[in-house]
């Protein structure tokens, strides 16, 4: 087995890094759209109309079982074929990033609906009544009291989702999309994978710091979102007495 060549590692690092833009693009787009879908599903599941609730919960179960490659193919190849005709051809000319975003948005839609539901359920029942009792409307209560608390509880999961999405990049490579992972594989495959070790090392140098940064960012976000808890833990250190 060859030893690692620093020159090669540098080469992979520099050549692949610019493609991090593509990864971050589809990660953010998928998260935003995904959470919208997730919120929609949570509302659907709570709706009184039985069929809608059943379809929504079915969507979540099916998505949990779908291997990502199947959904990607269904979206990338199935969608244009299903729409057919002019729209189909237009879709066919679209770049793969568009389809990767749709696929991951559907996935995040399913997992985020679980996160939102558990965050909503963990709120103490009284919060909503309290908001209404002081004369706020349903929307104001949701916006000022319920949403901040839900976001606070959902934050750790969002961090995990981002890291999960970044790692799924290898999937996009199969339909020719070059994100940072795809570009690294492509470069390594060009030299018939002889320098796989160096490529993987370069990828670690890109992925690990980014995921550490995300973990740190969400840690700070969590603290900032919950000043009370932060203050309480501070007070505990300084000797609060029972």
């Amino acid at each position: 087995m060859r030893t690692v060549e620093v020159e090669k590692v540098k080469y992979f690092f520099i050549e692949s890094l610019p493609y991090l833009r593509v990864t971050l693009l589809y990660v953010t787009v998928s998260l935003v759209i995904g959470f919208m879908i997730g919120a929609g599903i949570v509302c659907l599941r709570k709706s009184r109309i039985k069929i809608l609730a059943a379809i929504a919960s079915l969507y979540v179960t099916v998505l949990r079982c779908t291997p990502s490659i199947v959904l990607l193919f269904l979206v990338y190849y199935g969608l244009p074929a299903m729409l057919g005709g002019r729209v189909g051809d237009a879709l066919n000319r679209m770049s793969p990033v568009f389809f990767v975003c749709i696929t991951f948005s559907l996935f995040i839609g399913a997992s985020s609906s679980e996160v939102i539901r558990s965050a909503y359920e963990s709120l103490r029942a009284g919060q909503r009544e309290a908001g209404l009792s002081v004369g706020m409307t349903e929307l104001q209560t949701f916006w000022f009291i319920l949403l901040p608390q839900m976001v606070k509880r959902a934050i750790p999961n969002i961090g995990n989702m981002i890291i999960f999405l970044m790692k799924e990049g290898a999937l996009a490579y199969t339909i020719g999309l070059r994100d940072v992972l795809g570009q690294a594989y492509y470069l390594s495959a060009r030299s018939i994978n002889v320098y796989a070790v160096d490529m993987y090392l370069a990828l670690t140098l890109i992925y690990w710091p980014v995921s550490l940064a995300i973990e740190k960012l969400f840690h700070i976000l969590e603290k900032k979102m919950d000043p009370a808890k932060a203050r309480r833990s501070l007070r505990k250190l300084s000797g609060g007495v029972a």
Binding site: M1, C65, T66, P67, A81, K167, A196, T204, W208, L212
Partner: protein
């Protein structure tokens, strides 16, 4: 998109024949991951001097690197290192006789062990500190308190997340094929490759996943109900 249904019908049983391999991979990898995850969670919570920072670094490394890299290190690099070491040590064990399934167990358990550790730590947060003090005040040792009181409550709190970990593990076993361990996705790729019907082959895997995951979720649900009986009580109304 013309789906070749005849291929699906003929390939499904052949692919399903490899389900035992997938299930074995899932069960063993989960067992290893659960034990490792639990130990890591304890080490970090108890702030054990050397072990706790080590676990934290391990967890951030495993979370921060793609699964394919982890597989490459375990399947390609580890055996070479072992072979070189064995040659130097003069032993004559042939590293390459090891069945690749063992590499798959280790690779699959890495990420799962980190998720278990996180789930257990979240579970520990939800158990009231008073439970531990009550146990100690009865003269019980720390380990007795953990085994009888804390552990059951922590696991019960972590059950929903552990359910997700098992489902993710089932889907992750498809990566074992990169370590030349043929399970359902591997067989699907082989059959698909012969007749160039990859999408239909993946659909078979999808159908099998639906059934398996539905069964697993049902089991996890029953297990969770049995474990959390103390939260609902057995007598109708109090």
């Amino acid at each position: 998109m013309n789906i070749d249904y005849s291929f699906i019908v003929s390939a499904l049983p052949k692919i399903a024949a490899f389900l035992p391999v997938t299930l074995k991979l899932t069960v063993v990898a989960f067992a290893v991951a659960f034990a490792a995850g639990l130990l890591m969670a304890l080490a970090i919570n108890r702030r054990i001097k050397v072990l706790s920072p080590l676990c934290r670094i391990y967890m951030s490394l495993i979370r921060g690197t793609p699964m394919l890299l982890q597989i490459y290190v375990i399947y390609n690099l580890a055996p070479y290192a072992a072979a070189a070491f064995i040659e130097k040590a003069g032993l004559d064990i042939n590293v390459y006789d090891i069945d690749p399934v063992w590499y798959a167990y280790i690779a699959l358990s890495l990420t799962a062990s980190v998720s278990v550790a996180e789930a257990v730590r979240a579970g520990m947060q939800s158990v009231h500190q008073g439970q531990r003090e009550a146990g100690l005040s009865m003269g019980m040792s720390e380990s007795a308190v953990f085994i009888h009181i804390l552990f059951p409550q922590v696991i019960c709190a972590a059950m929903p997340v552990i359910g997700n970990i098992v489902v993710d593990l089932i889907k992750a076993t498809s990566l074992a094929f990169m370590m030349s361990v043929t399970e359902i996705t591997g067989e699907a790729k082989i059959l698909g490759g012969d007749v160039l019907r990859y999408f239909e082959a993946y659909l078979c895997v999808f159908v099998i996943y639906i059934v398996v995951i539905a069964v697993v979720e049902k089991m996890m649900h029953l297990l969770e109900n049995r474990m959390s009986v103390y939260r609902r009580g057995v007598h109708s109304s109090t």
